[in-house]
């Protein structure tokens, strides 16, 4: 399973269920994952996963709990490094650079590959400071006026500016759940990443706030490459251009979302998306 194989020269339809999943035949691969295996202590969470992430597209990772989708996502910006007892093998390339190479600055890496979490987690600071914090720490912005511009621009991109422009000094935690999540997205894009990883970004939100975030994701893909983990199949169907189905640490199927939801190649995928799993 860990054997390396070329994933580029085989048409999706020609693959057998046992082989690694196909890679969408679209140019502009932003991240490339090869033979990724992850162990938490003795337990193996991912088994030689291969996946190409298409630039300026939304890629959704779906699958039952414990299937490895969040583990996979967290490998994409080395968040798993922080987990004690973790062991990672395989390759993850970002713009053709190995992100697990020894010389990689992880803080710098995470400014290129940002992350938005399940539960909105603004800093206990003002709305303004939430956005300004990272650019300041990274020494990217020094002048106050430049920072004002950056805060405005980030909030606008996250579709939050009109709602908060008159109260930038108010605590971020005073916002509603949906607004807090958009604040976290604004915070993530303030350091100009090119990839945004989202781990169940809407699962703590009501349907209206969810629809707003989904529309935002759709707008953001113009400028960013987005990878989203979601439990909500319908959300994957709505927002993603490509969808990967994870099961027991393997990718069972990876294809464009239309195909996956109208005629999946694999029986397991069909069972899962039609609610026959278990």
């Amino acid at each position: 399973m860990l054997m390396r194989q070329s994933t580029h020269d085989t048409a999706p339809a020609a693959r057998t269920p046992e082989s690694e999943p196909a890679v969408p035949a679209k140019p502009g691969c932003k991240m490339s994952v090869r033979d990724l295996a992850v162990w938490y202590g003795e337990k193996q969470a991912l088994h030689g996963v291969c996946l190409d992430i298409v630039e300026n597209e939304v890629t959704a990772l779906i699958g039952p709990s414990g299937c490895g989708k969040s583990t996979f996502l967290r490998c994409l910006n080395r968040m798993n490094d922080l987990v004690p007892g973790v062991r990672i093998a395989g390759e993850v390339e970002f713009d053709a650079q190995d992100i697990y190479a020894p010389q990689v600055d992880v803080v710098e890496l995470r400014s290129h590959i940002g992350m938005v979490f399940q539960k909105p987690n603004p800093f206990p600071k003002s709305i303004y400071e939430n956005i300004a914090y990272a650019p300041k720490i990274l020494g990217r912005v020094r002048k106050r006026t430049d920072m004002d511009d950056l805060v405005e621009d980030s909030l606008k991109r996250a579709g939050l500016w009109d709602e908060v422009k008159d109260r930038l000094a108010a605590p971020g935690l005073d916002l509603s759940g949906g607004q807090q999540q958009r604040l976290c997205i604004a915070r993530a894009i303030a350091v100009s990443p090119s990839v945004l990883l989202m781990d169940e970004p809407c699962s703590a939100l009501d349907p209206v706030a969810t629809a707003t975030i989904e529309q935002l994701i759709d707008d953001l893909k113009e400028s960013y490459t987005i990878v989203i983990v979601t439990h909500n199949l319908q959300q994957a169907a709505r927002v993603a251009g490509y969808t990967a189905f994870f099961h027991l640490g393997h990718i069972i199927e990876y294809s464009d979302t239309d195909a996956l939801f109208t005629h999946p190649r694999e029986k397991k995928t069909e069972d899962y998306i039609t609610g026959r799993y278990g």
């Binding site: 209206v208 629809a211 707003t212 989904e214 529309q215 759709d218 319908q234 169907a237 709505r238 979302t257 239309d258 939801f261 109208t262």
Partner: protein
């Protein structure tokens, strides 16, 4: 969807998809309308070449049906539409089936036109066919108009026209029988004419079906197989309820 007075979705992409599918249906309807017009002209004026063009044009109609069907499947799979959105997609999927059948009827008329191109026709004999053709084309156009404007009352008027079309059709059949009795050598040609007018009459039925889907989409009421009277009652009941609510 705002063009027809429906509120926009939070997802602009979803709006765009529904709008696209609506526009595709109207485009397909326009194409089918043109097919009927050409087929009737080919038949009445004895233009065999035009009849041939209609026959070949049917593949475009078929292609559009497949394309729109795929789009509907895609929307169902990815958007899981609810309520009015769901009814729209269902109504579209049904409408294009009827449009495709209308296309087949037009093709049939085109075929009869090529058969009859060389036929010395009795004076004024085909004028009634022209009237019938115009009638069913108007029905179709009005049905599509009702679809575009979400107008169930306009849809009802379409269904109400069908009876007149049927009478017109029966008149032509009687006339054909007369010609056949007058001179048995006419029988072969008159059979072709009969096939063509039967096709026109069927187009009226399909247009009626489409108007019923419009009512389903707009009012959420299934008015098939209940007759025009009951359909009218259902629509005015809905209108009354809306008035009371507002």
């Amino acid at each position: 969807m705002d063009k027809v007075g429906l509120k926009e979705h939070t997802s602009k992409q979803f709006d765009a998809e529904l709008e696209e599918v609506r526009e595709l249906v109207l485009a397909m309807g326009g194409l089918v309308e043109q097919q009927i017009a050409d087929a009737v002209r080919a038949l009445v004026a004895g233009e065999g070449g035009l009849g041939q063009t209609v026959i070949e044009g049917d593949t475009r109609v078929n292609r559009m049906e497949v394309e729109i069907d795929q789009e509907c499947t895609r929307i169902l799979a990815r958007r899981a539409p609810q309520a009015g959105d769901l009814r729209l997609v269902i109504a579209v999927a049904k409408t294009i089936t009827d449009l495709e059948r209308i296309g087949d009827e037009a093709e049939k008329i085109g075929r009869m036109a090529t058969h009859l191109a060389a036929y010395e026709r009795p004076k004024g004999a085909f004028r009634q066919i022209e009237t019938l053709g115009r009638g069913v084309r108007e029905m179709l156009r009005d049905a599509l108009d009702a679809f575009a404007r979400l107008d169930s009352k306009a849809a009802l008027r379409v269904a109400q026209q069908d009876e007149a079309i049927d009478r017109e059709y029966e008149g032509i059949v009687r006339q054909c029988i007369t010609y056949m009795m007058e001179d048995p050598r006419n029988i072969r040609h008159m059979l072709d004419v009969l096939w063509a007018v039967k096709a026109l009459e069927r187009i009226g039925d399909h247009a009626t079906n489409i108007s019923e889907y419009v009512v389903y989409f707009v009012e959420g009421k299934d008015v098939r197989h209940i007759g025009v009277e009951a359909m009218a009652q259902e629509i005015s009941r809905s209108a009354r309820r809306r008035r009371d609510r507002d």
